[in-house]
Amino acid sequence: MIDVSSPSRRHPTGPARAAPSSPAEPLAAYAETLAAIGAAFGLDAERLAAAEDLERLEALTRLPFERLTAIAAAEVGKWFARFGIDLELDLQLTGLGLPEPAEPVTLHAEGAPEGAFAHFLRDAEHAASDSGSPVEVQVRLALGKTQALAAAHATLAGRPGYLGSAEALEVTTVAVFYSADAFVPLLSPDQLPAWQASALARDDGRAVVFLLDIAGALVGPALEVIGACELATLPWLELTQAGWHAFQQQTADARALREAESIWTLPASALTSVALDLATRSEGLEAIDQRVAALREQIAAMELATAVQSRDDERLVLRFAGQPVRVCVLPAPDTGGGRGAVSRLSGWAYASATPDRLYIARDCLARQFPAGPHITVADLAGAARLALPAALATFDLYLKRQADTYFAARQQARDAVASYAADVRKAFADLASDVTDNVYRTVVLALGVVIASIVEPAASVFVAALGALLFGGYLIGFCWYFLMRSRQTRFERERAQFEQRLADVPGLTEDERATYLGRPEGDEAEFWRSYHAARRIYLWLGVASVVVFGVLLLGHALGVPPLAATGAPVPSATAAPEP
C-alpha cells in the first residue's frame, strides 16, 4: 500500500472530537475519529486503509488486553457519538490461558456502548488476572458510511455554480473514503466493473470522491477527487450547464466511437481517458494524481487497442492491429513513464466523432511498436510518443489528399455543367434553325404555287391544293410531331446524362450537387421556350396549309375562278381570245 499523501498534508492522528469545530470540517472529523479508534486498537493507517472499500470498513485485529484497559469508556462514547449506527465493535477475549472461549461482546450506538465497554473491561480483567498466559482481545471494527455520505451530500449542495444545483447533483455520484489509501486500489483497469457498478463512472453523470484524511483537489468535468481536510478554502470547480452538456456529448461520441471500432469482451465501461483528465485545483493529492494519470494511460491504451479481452485472472489483454498483432497485458506494474503519451494520442484520436483519426492513430501506433508480438506498457508509451506526431502529419496529408480530390471533382462537375449547357444551347440553335428553314420552305412553296397559277392557271388550283396538303402534312406529321418529339427526347437524355455525370463525381455534397444541377436552368428554360414556340409555329403553319388546301378544293368545286381569272391580267400564252 502506498502512502498517497505527504505527511504534512495528511490530517494528524489525534483524539476524536465530539463535534466538528466548524461547518467546513465535519467530513474530516470522521477521519480523525477513525484514526483515534485505530490508534486505540493498534490499527495503523495502512491497516485501516486495507480494510476499507467503497461501502464500508471492516477490520479484525488482536491486541493485548492491557492495551484495552487504557481506553476510557468516555472515549468510546465519543466514537459512537460521531459515527452513530455506522459503528459496531465486537470484542472477544482470547488467549491460551483462558479455561474456555469467551463470548464476544458487541458495542453499538443503540446499546449504551460506554456502559457495555466498561462492563466488558471488568469481566475481562477478572479473566485476565486468572490466566497465566497473555490474554488478548480480538476486535472487529465494522464501520459504515451513511453518516459521512450524508455530510458529503450536504457539502456538495452548498458548492457554488451549476455543479451545486439540484439538476447537477441529481446526476452526481458521491463516494467517501475515510482513508485516501483505500481509494488507490480502485485506480486500476481491472477495477472497471467496480467503477461501473458503483456509478463512479456513468454515461449520464459525474462523480465526486471525498478523501476524508487528506487535503487537496483534483477536478475534471466527469470526476472530482477532493480531500476533505481544507474544504473551507477549496476553490470549487465551476462549470456551466452548457459546458457540462457539451462535455457529455463529447464523451458520448467518444464512447460510441470506441464501441463501434473496438471489440471488448468485458462489459462496456463508461470510464474514458477523457473523464480521468483531472487538473490540480488544490495541492495535496500528488500521489493520487500520479495513480489517476497511470490509470488514464491504461484506459487510453484500451481505447487505442482494437480488442480488449478479460482473462480469468482478471487481467486485461489488449490487442493492437498490425503485423504482427501486438498483445499487451494490463494492469501492468509499470506505467511506462510516458508522461501521458498514450492519453494524448487517444485524446487526439477520439477528438472527433468520425473514425478517421482513430484509424490513423492505430495505424501509426502499429508502425512504432517494437518487433515481436508482446509489448509492455513502456513499449506502448514509447510507441505512442512517436506515433502522435506521425499521426498529426498523416492526418494533414490525408486532409490535403482529400482537398485535391475535392477540387478535381468540382472541376468534373463544372465540366459537366459546361458541356451540358453547350448541348442545350446547340439544341436551342438547332430548333431555331429548323424553324427558320421550314418557314423559308413555306414561303418558297407559296411563291411556287403563285408562280404556278400564273403559268398554268387551269392546273394551279389542283396543284396548289395538293401542295398545301403535302406541306401541311409535312409540318404537322414530321416537324410538329416527329421532329419535335425527337428534339425533346434528345434533350431529356442529355439532361439525364448530365445528372448521371454529376452523380458519378465523388466527394460532392448533396447541396453542391443540387447547385450544379441548377446552373443550366436558364439555358434549359430558353430551350423549352423555343421548343414550345417552334411547336406552335409548326402547328399553325400546318393548320394554315390544310386550310389553304380546303379553301382551294372548295373553290374549285364551286367554280370560283382561280386567282388569275378574277380580272387580273394574267399573262398566259394559252389565254383564250375575246369572242
Binding site: 467503497l54 485485529t61 491460551l96 465494522a142 483505500a182 467496480a194
Partner: protein, 385 residues
C-alpha cells in the same frame, strides 16, 4: 486405613503425552507419548483427600485413605482423563532432591507412608495458599494405574468444592414443607478442574514426568497465580503438545494477518491447506511446513519458519523449537472443517473434503480491498436451530 480398590473405569478422552522439555541453550525438544490415564481406563488403588480452608485458616487432614464407591471412582477417573486432555504443560521438578520429590515418591510406598506423605503435601500446599485471594479447596492424592499396565502413577488434584442450592422436606407442626438450603461440599465436575498434576516415573526411583493442568500457569504467571506449580510443586514448565499445537495455529493466523496484503486468495487457501495437511501428521517441522505453505512466495518462507520456531515456546529467554508433536484432539475440528470468517462475524463452515467443490479459491475476485466469493450450492436455507 482402607485403600480403595474398585473395578477399572473406562472413559473416553484423548491427548498426547506431555512431550516438550527445556534442554540446553534454550532449545526445546519434543517427543510424543501417551499420558497414563488419558484413555480413561483407570484403576485407582488409593485415594486420600484433605481439606485446605485457607479462608478460615483451617487445615483438616484425613488420617486414612478414602473409600471409593463405583460412582466416585468414575468421577475421579474422569478427573484424571480431563487433566490429561486439557494439560497445557509438562515438566519436571526443578530440584530433583527436594522435599516434594521425596514426598511424591513416598506416596507410592506403603499405606502409612502414603497417608503421611499426603498430609505433608497438604501442609505444604496450605502454606502456599495463605493469601486469601486463593480459593479454598481440597487436595486429593491418588495412586492409579492405567490401561492394564501395572505401573503406578500419582495424581495430585486441587479440588475446589462447589456449592449449590438444595431442598429438603421438613415436617413442622405435623405438616410437611420444603426448606431450601445450600450444599457447599460438592465435588466439582471435570470441567471445573483448575490445578491438577499427574506424575509418572519410568521406573521406581526415576525422576517424575509431570503433566500439569493449571489454567494460571504460563509465561505471565506470577505471585499467587503460580502458587501450585511453582510454589507448591516446584516444577519447571514446558509446553505440552496441546499447547504447542494451539500456539502453532495462533501463530500462523497472526503471521497471516501481518502478511495478508502479500497473499492473494489462492495463496491464502494454499497456506490453509498446507497447515491442515501438516496438522494431520503426528509431528510438524516448521521449516518444511513453511516451504509447503508458501509455494509461490519463497521470499516469505524464512520469515514464517523463524516466526514459528522462535515463538512456539512462550517466555523469556526465547527458546527455539523446530518440531513439535501434534495434539490431534485440539485440531480435530480444524482438520474436519474449513471455517471461513467473513464480514460481520459471518462464518462459512464446510467439510474440508468438500470445500473445493463448494468454493474454488482461484475464482475469488478482489474488487479493491474486497473479496468476492462465488459459492456453488444445491442447498440454500436458513438454519433455525
Amino acid at each position: 486405613m482402607v485403600r480403595a480398590r474398585t473395578a477399572t473405569t473406562t472413559r473416553s478422552a484423548t491427548g498426547a503425552r506431555a512431550a516438550a522439555s527445556v534442554g540446553q541453550a534454550g532449545v526445546v525438544s519434543s517427543a510424543p507419548g501417551a499420558i497414563p490415564g488419558a484413555s480413561g481406563r483407570v484403576r485407582i488403588e488409593a485415594i486420600i483427600q484433605h481439606q485446605l480452608d485457607n479462608q478460615g485458616a483451617q487445615l483438616v487432614l484425613a488420617q486414612e485413605a478414602g473409600l471409593l464407591t463405583a460412582e466416585a471412582h468414575e468421577l475421579f477417573a474422569s478427573y484424571i482423563a480431563a487433566t490429561a486432555a486439557r494439560s497445557d504443560w509438562t515438566g519436571r521438578f526443578a530440584e530433583s532432591d527436594g522435599d516434594v520429590v521425596a514426598l511424591c515418591a513416598a506416596l507410592l510406598g506403603p499405606e502409612q507412608a502414603f497417608v503421611e506423605a499426603s498430609q505433608q503435601l497438604a501442609q505444604l500446599l496450605f502454606h502456599q495458599m495463605r493469601p486469601r485471594t486463593i480459593s479454598a479447596g481440597d487436595l486429593a492424592a491418588l495412586i492409579y494405574s492405567a490401561d492394564g499396565d501395572p505401573q503406578r502413577h500419582i495424581a495430585l488434584l486441587k479440588l475446589d468444592p462447589q456449592s449449590r442450592p438444595i431442598r429438603a422436606f421438613q415436617r413442622v407442626n405435623g405438616r410437611l414443607r420444603v426448606v431450601y438450603g445450600r450444599a457447599d461440599n460438592l465435588l466439582p465436575d471435570e470441567r471445573h478442574l483448575q490445578k491438577c498434576a499427574l506424575l509418572t516415573a519410568a521406573a521406581p526411583g526415576a525422576s517424575f514426568d509431570i503433566t500439569l493442568l493449571d489454567t494460571q500457569a504460563g509465561p505471565t504467571a506470577a505471585g499467587v497465580a503460580a502458587f501450585f506449580y511453582r510454589g507448591f510443586l516446584g516444577v519447571a514448565l514446558a509446553p505440552s503438545p496441546r499447547r504447542l499445537t494451539r500456539r502453532f495455529v495462533d501463530l500462523c493466523d497472526a503471521w497471516l494477518d501481518a502478511h495478508r496484503a502479500a497473499l492473494d486468495p489462492a495463496a491464502l487457501f494454499a497456506f490453509y491447506a498446507a497447515r491442515r495437511a501438516a496438522l494431520d501428521q503426528s509431528d510438524v517441522e516448521v521449516a518444511p511446513f513453511a516451504e509447503r505453505a508458501l509455494p509461490g512466495h519463497p521470499e516469505l518462507r524464512y520469515d514464517l519458519a523463524e516466526t514459528l520456531a522462535l515463538n512456539l515456546v512462550e517466555g523469556e529467554p526465547p527458546a527455539r523449537l523446530e518440531q513439535f508433536s501434534v495434539d490431534r484432539a485440539v485440531v480435530s475440528s480444524l482438520l474436519r472443517y474449513v471455517t471461513l470468517e467473513l464480514d460481520g462475524g459471518a462464518r462459512l463452515r464446510v467439510r474440508a473434503d468438500r470445500f473445493a467443490s463448494l468454493l474454488d479459491p482461484t475464482r475469488i475476485r478482489r474488487t479493491g480491498n474486497r473479496y468476492e466469493l462465488t459459492i456453488s450450492t444445491l442447498t440454500l436455507r436458513e438454519v433455525s436451530d
